[in-house]
Symmetry: C2
């Protein structure tokens, strides 16, 4: 196997030819991955720029950089699951599919609190680095339906096929409900409802299924 | 919220009007879920039959039963990930999407062992019950490419869009490679290659993405 090239997130703006690494990043690169001066790495600001550089002391010497096309806008609003592991899965997997924004959704039957913001961001950065992406997902702590972007599609077993709903409505926001389901009258009138499977999906499964569908359907259409 | 109706897996064949519960199942129903004689429950043999019955002592009194349409045949062959948590996630999520068979795939760069069969089956049963499904996934311990059903599609970043590949080739088996990627020459000549995302997906993310795509695309086509 070719030696793996580490991919590092460094928040911008970058105004120097060398970008300082934070202590944990440097310790990981030198201590765990055994990289030395001159080792190749890639880096991103999480806003679409990816560069190829080298390790230089406790910094990255910048090299060629490019700005990636932005993925199609997509926010996923999710009622937080009770288990922190499942919340972490949601953050990681939505980041892997380059979802723009994860919004922890306040719902009538949802009883769990969202994970703390610093934790969520750490999980997202780690998934960004691991998946070699260029866009870091935003995480909004708690929103209700009013705060969500439109067109909005709501996941529910009673709805039409997900592919149909996503193609027709060009959803830019998808809402996933809590373990107890939506309360009567809770789903906004302007939001069509889509079904993701014949079975009952867990929150994290529905969230990732929605991300997979929007991302892959938009790629096959050749749209951005 | 309406009281949740437990869904219980009981392997067939069922030849009596009452089906005996195993001790852990009974303890869960009576001790954890506090169900009593006469409580409603649903049950399945994992082969497509689902019934509505009631708790009766340490058994289920059978009621109306129906046989669900079988989902479109779909096997997913996956190089086992190193982490047992990630392996468990694969089993659970593929079961939620009613994949027929999970095959732990032997690959040149894959170094991890598959989880023990009894563990995998337990995870699958629990996901079957939780998702209220009627078809229990088969889990095959270790196979190479020769043992996989055709048409076979292999996931790899170099391939065409997943939606295109799945529609064209009507895949009934999808292979997901190990963390180190496929070795040169490892992908069989008769298998087209598809890409699931622009980013680098983890094994478990690719496996669930493949299941989501095949299941939802076949639903929207109106095919079974």
């Amino acid at each position: 196997m070719a030696k793996h090239v580490p991919h590092v997130y460094l928040s911008g703006p970058w105004d120097k030819s060398q970008l300082s690494l934070e202590d944990p990043q440097f310790r990981h690169l030198s201590g765990v991955l055994r990289r030395v001066d001159g080792s190749a790495l890639t880096y991103t600001d999480g806003l679409g720029t990816i560069g190829t550089g080298t390790l230089h002391g406790r910094a990255i010497e910048r090299g060629a950089e490019q700005v990636l096309d932005a993925p199609r806008p997509l926010a996923i609003a999710v009622a937080p699951p009770k288990s922190i592991d499942r919340a972490r899965w949601i953050v990681e997997k939505l980041q892997e599919f380059e979802v723009d924004a994860l919004i922890w959704l306040r719902t009538e039957n949802g009883q769990a609190r969202p994970p703390k913001p610093d934790k969520s961001v750490k999980w997202a950065i780690s998934a960004l680095e691991q998946s070699r992406g260029g866009y870091l997902m935003r995480i909004e702590q708690v929103g209700g339906f009013d705060s969500l972007l439109r067109p909005l599609v709501v996941a529910d077993q009673a709805g039409v096929s997900a592919v149909t709903a996503i193609k027709q409505d060009g959803a830019i926001c998808i809402a996933i409900g809590p373990e107890g389901g939506w309360a009567p009258g809770e789903i906004p009138n302007d939001a069509p409802v889509m079904s993701l499977a014949d079975t009952v999906l867990r929150i994290e499964t529905a969230a990732i299924a929605a991300a997979v569908l929007v991302r892959t359907i938009s790629r096959s259409d050749g749209s951005d």
